[in-house]
């Protein structure tokens, strides 16, 4: 069980063997972060300019989807010069406050997963997974047709006790 201050903390786990590279996670992430949050409206008007915070990597039959790992000791938080990148001590979630971000890309420079992106659609800011704040299950997980992403407090690979 993953715990933080006595509370269970859920994380997204990647089950790469089940990923079929359909990229629905990317689409739903874009829709979730669109203004309308409606797939058709977003597709017609916004999709080109919305950054997906989850990335599907694919070579041949191998693929997986990856988004912010919300690291215990997050290098992006250390590197942030504007106070925009903050780790919530209670939930463990790493959030980029885009109002504070100045677009220096220090977070991109240090993220070993390469999961922070440049959003240059308006004022240039860093864009990353916010675990779909407000949703019970992140949309990339909810809409994955083959359960290649799991949102759980138990590591499906090891099912062992680890601190997040």
């Amino acid at each position: 069980m993953r715990e933080r201050h006595g509370e269970k903390v859920k994380k997204i786990f990647i089950e790469e063997q089940y990923c079929i590279g359909c990229r629905l996670c990317e689409i739903y992430c874009q829709v979730r972060h669109s203004k309308s949050r409606k797939i058709l409206k977003a597709f017609r008007k916004e999709l080109q300019s919305i950054v997906s915070r989850v990335t599907v990597e694919e070579i041949g039959y191998n693929s997986f989807a990856i988004q912010c790992r919300h690291c215990a000791d997050a290098p992006c938080v250390d590197a942030c010069i504007s106070g925009a990148m903050i780790k919530n001590e209670n939930t463990g979630v790493v959030i980029c406050d885009q109002d504070r971000c100045v677009g220096c890309w220090s977070c991109i420079m240090v993220c070993p997963y390469g999961v922070i992106k440049r959003d240059i659609s308006g004022r240039k800011v860093a864009s990353k997974c916010d675990l779909c704040f407000g949703e019970e299950v992140p949309v990339c997980v909810k809409n994955c047709p083959n359960e290649a992403l799991k949102f759980t407090d138990t590591d499906p690979d090891t099912a062992s006790a680890k601190l997040g």
Partner: protein, 453 residues
């Protein structure tokens, strides 16, 4: 001087920037009740030093220049002493003396005093000029108007005011490094005409290679700035105490109503001047961030610490390492065991809309040594340039211009010393990703826990 008052605190921190604040935050996480006092010679509750050029240009206002709120200090019960410079450290009595006549005893002391600007020498000629005379140091030119350094917020505030009050329309910048270029960018955004004067043969020589430098130079020139490389200021001509004209080495004369000296920053070790540290070198710390004096720690730009690429002790004055060193120092000061794995040089900025990142030994070429290999990707039409440098099949440096996405993957490869001999083919490609990494490391990233860079 006011009457000397005495007090005592458990944790005394000199410096209120990245390292000092990070240390205080980490101490408080462990020791909920111990007294923490931060001393800062500046008069700002909190601000991020790398953001001062953004403030200068007006890109961000005073409300957004802080990286921690005022509430951070009160919530963590940290006493912040502003406009108070520590002038002396008595390590045998474990106390410091401030310029306000206070003596404060400490249980543990952290020196996080940062850096100070390097000031070159030049000669000054002119009328009504108190400071004129060959060999005058610019910092001592108190009577001269129009010469600035730019390493703290007070500098930026003064510079902004000077430009407005004197309706300045052009400026010269001595130094084509990162601070110089960020200053140039701010000035260009303010509508000024710029001359950049750089001693070496190219701008950004410390952190980029020839090709990258040329791409950025072109962008800077396009934006309306002149670059004079291979030269420095031979003499300054003044009139009525104001700067008027520069003569560069080689004889070129340019008119100048404002000069910013941005040739570099060195560790501010003035407080420990009796420790025998050479000028320009930092305080040596071990991996717990201890100095060799009992109960005295140091972190951030004032230190010389482990450089993972050279294996030597080096002053690597960058924000992420200052934060990490401060955290390690704070944890150890509060009685935990934390160690600093070392770091390596890295920098990320946007210069005139072009994102640039440099990691590690980025200027090395194959001609530098037999075991060095260099992989490049170029798309000049998109202003994209990527260069990856390996030594014995391990990444030791990289440059990204234009396409900086996923640069951190390479920082991870450097940090974790991953053997990439099987994946070298596409190593500099824009589409290079985790899927192409060696199987073990890929598995570690995809199904493992967070890794430290």
């Amino acid at each position: 001087m006011e009457k000397i008052t005495k007090s005592k605190t458990d944790y005394l921190i000199i410096g209120n920037s990245a390292a000092g604040v990070s240390a205080a935050e980490n101490i408080r996480k462990i020791d909920k009740t111990g007294g923490i006092e931060i001393f800062s010679s500046e008069n700002f509750v909190n601000y991020s030093r790398p953001l001062i050029t953004y403030y200068l240009s007006g890109k961000i206002g005073p409300d957004r220049i802080c990286f921690k709120s005022e509430e951070f200090y009160s919530r963590n019960n940290i006493i912040l002493n502003l406009s108070t410079a520590v002038t002396e450290i008595d390590t045998s009595r474990q106390e410091v003396i401030t310029d306000r006549g206070r003596k404060i005893g400490y249980g543990k002391l952290l020196i996080a005093s940062g850096g100070k600007p390097v000031i070159p020498f030049t000669s000054v000629t002119g009328r009504n000029n108190k400071a004129a005379g060959p060999g005058s140091e610019i910092s001592r030119l108190g009577g001269l108007e129009g010469i600035f350094t730019l390493t703290n917020l007070a500098d930026a505030v003064a510079l902004r005011r000077y430009i407005e009050e004197n309706s300045i329309s052009s400026a010269s910048i001595l130094g084509g490094g990162l601070i110089g270029l960020k200053t140039a960018e701010a000035f260009l955004e303010m509508g000024l005409n710029i001359n950049i004067i750089e001693l070496s043969g190219k701008i950004l020589s410390a952190s980029f290679d020839e090709e990258a430098s040329e791409i950025i130079s072109e962008r800077v020139r396009e934006a309306g700035s002149s670059i004079f490389t291979g030269s420095t200021i031979e003499s300054i001509r003044t009139d009525g105490g104001k700067i008027k004209q520069l003569t560069l080495t080689g004889g070129k004369v340019i008119s100048c109503e404002l000069l910013v000296v941005a040739v570099g920053v060195k560790p501010d070790t003035g407080l420990v001047r009796n420790w025998g540290i050479k000028d320009g070198q930092g305080i040596i710390v071990d991996e717990e961030m201890r100095t060799d004096v009992q109960n005295v720690y140091a972190a951030g730009d004032v230190t010389r610490s482990h450089d993972r690429l050279s294996g030597q002790e080096k002053n690597i004055a960058i924000w992420p390492l200052a934060v990490r060193q401060g955290a390690v120092a704070g944890k150890n000061m509060a009685g935990q065991n934390a160690s600093y794995r070392g770091g390596f040089f890295m920098n990320s900025v946007e210069i005139l809309g072009v994102p640039v990142i440099s990691l590690g030994l980025s200027s090395l070429e194959e001609s530098s040594s037999r075991d060095i290999r260099v992989y490049r990707t170029r798309h000049p039409e998109k202003q994209v340039y990527r260069k990856i440098i390996t030594r014995n099949s391990r990444v030791i440096g990289a440059i990204f211009i234009g396409a900086v996405e996923r640069a951190g993957i390479y920082a991870g490869l450097i940090s974790n010393e991953i053997d990439i001999s099987e994946v070298l083919g596409n190593i500099s490609g824009e589409d290079f990703g985790i899927l192409q990494l060696p199987a073990d490391y890929k598995k570690h990233l995809v199904v493992g826990e967070g890794v430290e860079v």
